[in-house]
Amino acid sequence: MDITTRTHDDVTLIGFSGNLDTNTSSDAEAAFTSVLDGGGQKVVVDFTALDYISSAGLRVLLATAKRLNGVGGTLRMFGLNETVEEVFEISGFSTIFSVFPDEAAALAGL
């Protein structure tokens, strides 16, 4: 898995490619922690290049969302393929996360 981080004004965009699963979730967690520790409160996750996500990846997203909620921050996501979307559906995460069809929509109004 590759992780790319870029900023757009006060928004941090984190992109994942490959799989967000048992073996990569700790890298993902480190990336989120580094952003949040740096004071980032607006985080947008780019899943365009993500192949699939398992519950290990969901756990990292959930922890990040909880931490951002605690500081009044925002977590948004876009670019989910049908499998990632299915996993979000099944797990109920699509109702608790803000999911957008693309980057522009995700950044709009932030």
Binding site: N19, T22, S54, S55, T83, V87, I96
Partner: protein, 561 residues
């Protein structure tokens, strides 16, 4: 008469000793050297004669005490054969009489003991000791004799031992041929869901010739059978090997047990000078229908154990033993199996096993065992049967080979397997990546839809993570085997591991309607597996956890856009 002693005159050395002893006795009793030497010579002459003509001559010495105080030494030569005392000796020995007493011939010489008025107790004790004492020569001679005897018995032992060993090694070769011919790896068909088969053969020390076999004829048919060859050792093992080979070769293009055995019988009976024969029960199970077509050629009737535990005896016989007579035409019958039914085959080593009181095990005990069996799995049925025979037999010797085969039918498969993916990995989280990248290659090669491939990858990640994290605490021998069968309508996935018993589907589904703050991640992975797969089942098999999954490949409905 007072007995002094007896000397066997069986060898030169003992005759010499007899002469010496008689001389010493006379010297002791009379002090008359001349008489002692003369009588000694007479004993020697007669003794040597007896040595040649006699069978087992002995010389007995007695003392006769007369009332008047005079004493007589009585020398009695005795043998089972007639003996003659040369005239010349009579003068030397004095008063020799030859006669027969019962079965023995006797020559008796009486030697007057002059010079001593009476022989007291102490003198008698001394002469007894003289006669009975063994000389160095005698001892040496006895030792040599013993040595020779020992040598002979050792050589005899060697002869009989090597003969015994030869027989033993022939039996071993026979048993080796026999056992090498049998399929012994179980599970025999780990990737076939439609059936399971297990068998065992416990060879008796001497009698060999039982066999069992099972093999796929094609994708949809398994041939299985059992047999018992007459006789023992290498010839019967070779006969068994020939039978088994002929059956398998014929079955490759002949799906009728009756036809197979009719042909095999003709081939076996031709040139069968040893007049050996074999009892065979042969069946072919059609995995699509569950129908078993079978022929019984003089073998013990097998049993069908239905899924509800009831037993059916397949009593029909379709012809005589195989190999005995050319031109026999065998018949066949069918019996239908449904999922959960099993067939149990056995040889007469089971029903004719004997307990220490020589009572037979008998078929009714087998029926009892099969009725009492709680597990219908073939391995359990075979084990229950053999264990009960062992219990019955106790410490009695096993007289015949004991062979049992069980085949269980699990119902028709959902379709034939087109491609298979197999991978076995250690219980290490890093191996999940290995599995998923290997599976991605398999999926690409066979053009699986990306969505299916991703779903399977998520499922592998969830299940392997679970197993590796929780199933092997404190162990480093963890091993997980993964099989994915590509069938026309589905992926059939099996994950099996040797971790502690754990049913991943034993937990309740998480509440997915909760908010971010309320949500916990536990149970979510398994929930994903349940939902993303079309079938999930868990089995604990012997020492393994087995998870069986199916992902249907049904065409997605065309996108509305």
């Amino acid at each position: 008469m007072t007995g002094i002693g007896t000397i066997a005159l069986t060898r030169d050395v003992t005759v010499r000793e007899a002469r010496r002893k008689v001389r010493q006795v006379l010297l002791e009793l009379t002090g008359d050297d001349l008489t002692a030497t003369r009588v000694g010579s007479g004993v020697s002459a007669l003794g040597r004669g007896l040595l040649r003509s006699g069978e087992a001559p002995v010389l007995q010495l007695d003392l006769e005490q007369r009332d008047g105080g005079s004493s007589v030494l009585v020398l009695t030569f005795r043998d089972s054969r007639p003996m003659e005392v040369p005239e010349a000796l009579v003068a030397v020995l004095e008063h020799v009489t030859v006669g027969r007493t019962g079965a023995h011939w006797e020559a008796r010489a009486r030697v007057q003991l002059h010079g001593r008025s009476a022989v007291d107790e102490r003198a008698v004790a001394r002469v007894r000791a003289l006669v009975q004492q063994k000389s160095r020569d005698e001892l040496m001679d006895e030792l040599q004799v013993k040595n020779r005897e020992l040598q002979e018995s050792f050589e005899n032992l060697q002869r009989t031992t090597s003969a015994k060993e030869r027989m033993e090694s022939e039996l071993n070769i026979g048993r080796d041929i026999q056992m090498r011919m049998l399929p012994m790896e179980f599970p025999a068909f780990p990737h076939r869901r439609e059936f399971d088969v297990h068998a065992t053969l416990h060879p008796a020390r001497e009698v060999g010739g039982d066999f069992y076999d099972f093999f796929m004829i094609d994708e949809d048919r398994i041939c299985f059978g059992i047999g018992d060859v007459s006789g023992k050792g290498v010839p019967s093992a070779l006969f068994m090997a020939m039978t088994k080979t002929l059956i398998k070769s014929r079955a490759s293009n002949d799906f009728s047990p009756a036809s197979i055995l009719t042909h095999v019988n003709d081939e076996m009976a031709e040139n069968n000078e040893s007049a050996m024969f074999v009892t065979i029960w042969l069946g072919i199970l059609d995995l699509r229908s569950g129908e078993v077509t079978y022929t019984n050629a003089g073998h013990n009737p097998p049993y069908v154990r239905r899924s509800d535990g009831t037993l059916e005896r397949l009593a029909k016989r379709h012809g005589p033993v195989v190999g005995a007579m050319e031109g026999m035409v065998y018949g066949e019958d069918t019996v239908g199996l449904v999922s959960g039914d099993a067939v149990l085959l056995y040889t007469d080593g089971v029903t004719e096993a004997m307990d220490p009181a020589q009572a037979l095990y008998e078929e009714r005990r087998l029926v009892g065992t099969l009725e009492a069996a709680t597990a219908p799995a073939p391995e359990a049925l075979v084990r229950a049967t053999v264990d009960d025979v062992w219990r019955f037999q106790a410490d009695a010797e096993q007289a015949d080979d004991i062979t049992v085969l069980a085949l269980a039918y699990h119902g028709a498969s959902e379709g034939e397997t087109l491609q298979s993916f197999h991978l076995t990995v250690g219980a290490d989280l890093d191996e999940i990546a290995t599995v998923n990248s290997a599976f991605a290659e398999f999926a690409d090669m066979h053009e699986l839809p990306a969505k299916v491939r991703r779903s399977v990858s998520v499922v592998f990640d969830e299940l392997l993570n679970n197993t590796i994290s929780y199933g092997f605490k404190g162990r480093d021998d963890g091993e997980i085997a993964i099989t994915v069968d590509l069938r026309p309508d589905r992926l059939a996935i099996t994950l099996s591991d040797n971790g502690r018993p754990f049913n991943p589907f034993g937990t309740a589904a998480p509440d997915t309607g909760l908010s971010v703050e309320e949500r916990e991640i536990g149970g979510l992975g398994v929930h994903l597996v349940r939902t993303m797969m079309d079938e999930v089942t868990y089995h604990r098999r012997t020492d393994r956890n087995v998870v069986i999954l199916a992902k249907l490949l049904a065409d997605e409905p065309a996108d509305a856009s």
